[in-house]
Symmetry: C2
Subunit: 396 residues, 2 copies
Amino acid sequence: MADGIDGSGFMPGERAALAHAAHGPLSGLTFAAKDLYDVAGSPTTYGNPDWARTHPVPPSTAPAVLALVEAGARFLGKTKTVELAYGLTGENVWYGTPVNPAAPDRFPGGSSCGSAAVVAAGEADIALGSDTGGSVRIPASYCGIYGIRPSWGSVPLTGARGLAPSFDTAGWFAARASVLRRAGEVLLPRGGEGQLGPCLRVQEAWMNAHPSVASALSPALDAVDAAMDGCLQISLIPETLAVLYERFRSAQAEEAWATLGDWVASTGPAFGPGVGERFTMARDMEPGQGAAGRTFRQGFRQRLLGLLGGGAVLVYPTSPMPAPKLGASPEEQLWTREVTIGVTAIAGLAGLPEVSIPAARVDGAPVGLSLVAAPGRDRALLALAERVAERLGLSV
Amino acid sequence: MADGIDGSGFMPGERAALAHAAHGPLSGLTFAAKDLYDVAGSPTTYGNPDWARTHPVPPSTAPAVLALVEAGARFLGKTKTVELAYGLTGENVWYGTPVNPAAPDRFPGGSSCGSAAVVAAGEADIALGSDTGGSVRIPASYCGIYGIRPSWGSVPLTGARGLAPSFDTAGWFAARASVLRRAGEVLLPRGGEGQLGPCLRVQEAWMNAHPSVASALSPALDAVDAAMDGCLQISLIPETLAVLYERFRSAQAEEAWATLGDWVASTGPAFGPGVGERFTMARDMEPGQGAAGRTFRQGFRQRLLGLLGGGAVLVYPTSPMPAPKLGASPEEQLWTREVTIGVTAIAGLAGLPEVSIPAARVDGAPVGLSLVAAPGRDRALLALAERVAERLGLSV
């Protein structure tokens, strides 16, 4: 635990600079990028000092970062991430856990904790994150801002560090729905506009949410209902969310060890709480578990593609609860992780785009409402989120 | 009530003859056609003697009938229909209500009563019917045979009498799933094959069914579940099935009067029980009701297209009960009509293809299980019905 620990979302120390276009669709806006995206000449720490120490300073800049500067956005610097992006609370003992500007006594959520924090604090208009199992959606929900996990494969992760490549997505945050959408117009491939519908309330995810969350999100659900001419209720997961959590966890862990296991085993890095335990779990997992996760995923993805291919949108609370308090016990953190991933695994397993809208507050802490669509419908989803925000009276 | 009243599904009197191709995909199979399809040189009665009296003998044969003879099927003759196809019990006081071969003390269902009866009696392999509000699906369910209401507009109704053109579809019956499919390969446009999924149990339609029906159909639902890798439950109709019935009834009645009102008003035909009352209702309906039906239909159809466009299939009991007994009171018949149309209106309003599988018996009477898909997916639906029938141990 080094000098430079602070509660900002930005990485401590000197900030990398990048030239931006004078004119472009994002002129006048600022952005930051999670410290797993390469910026030429600046170290990529991946949230862990041993990673930074054992990897060269990158000579080039990740295309997603370049796309934003080329669109005229001004780059402000790198933001903190959970170590190797393997965690959902947003804790980082090496560079300091960012303060959650919307609820300072609670975790900011992660792994894209710094990106969420700088946007929630009004320090940047846009921030790039990444989302494997909820790492954009959860901090968006916890910090009261917009966040998108785009369709898997739609935004390049070239020049960005990976955790579980078949799950990893780029993603970004904004405090306004229109800015989230405008960043999407730069980052996303063409196409995927057009009308979406019907909206489907996923019964299990609403039942899984704390009753106070379900109740606080009710006006937002009404706004979705109005924007989409009515919602239907669907029971999506005959297997229960606990099975979804387990399948996701296993498939992700198998890939995480395949991706990072060599480095972990050869370097023996120092890790903060939880991260090392997750890699040990990934290393020691029975091979059958990973295979079961992969097999389940195929069927689940197929089912979701069939359900959503015509334009249907799933709607449910992004997280079942607001952010856990900073003093939460390891047991409470693990339980929160399980019930949260049971929901985030829906889009995670099926590669679906998901937008979280800062739709309500519970006990003074934010909680998001998610809209989820078929792969490739990201632009339509961002436009829908903006319409819902308008109906909710949020400044778009 | 003339001579020639009998309990056969065929129209009384001389049977029209048509030459068929010597070789073709339907060689060796026989078929009949509801007496609202024109066959050159033979009167089209439309189930009513006054209709027959006031219309010339058609000079040409309906394309749907021609398609079957050109595919090698042998035409056996015309079958009875409810007058002007405006009724669901299958009663015809002029030509005789066909006996339901599967449950002789019960109605055969209509309006394509004769077509269902000749197939259920083993007198024809295939029979053409038509389906506006359930007129193929209901007699298929009641007589224990397969029936399809195809996607609206997919099979030409040229040379066939209409009731409510924006709802009217051709349709056909068979005692075997493979024969139903083979007729479809001749009648349906190319395309629409491929995998379907997921399967969605429509909660309201299962709740609406008599508990004994829901219970008897449970093994069939398991077969669908197995054929489709699991079913999800969806609540499809926030408006309740009663609203669906009312919107369907109004929109259909408005069109029925627009189509047939001039003839009814100028001819003053004698009608059997119920039919005249329905035309009077259609004539006297407040204009706002028809408009409300049309408006509702647009939104409902859009919602269903979004839900099913990716390949999802709805599954529910074709009829909430087996056929009413022959002595059922007018009140009981009306009530049955209302709760039945509440379900058949799903595909009716949205123009969806629906296949009914003879999946169970209750109190010794048949009841069907329906599979419903997006418009144009008829071929895939027929293939799926065949797979489900195989799993159910039915002879396909």
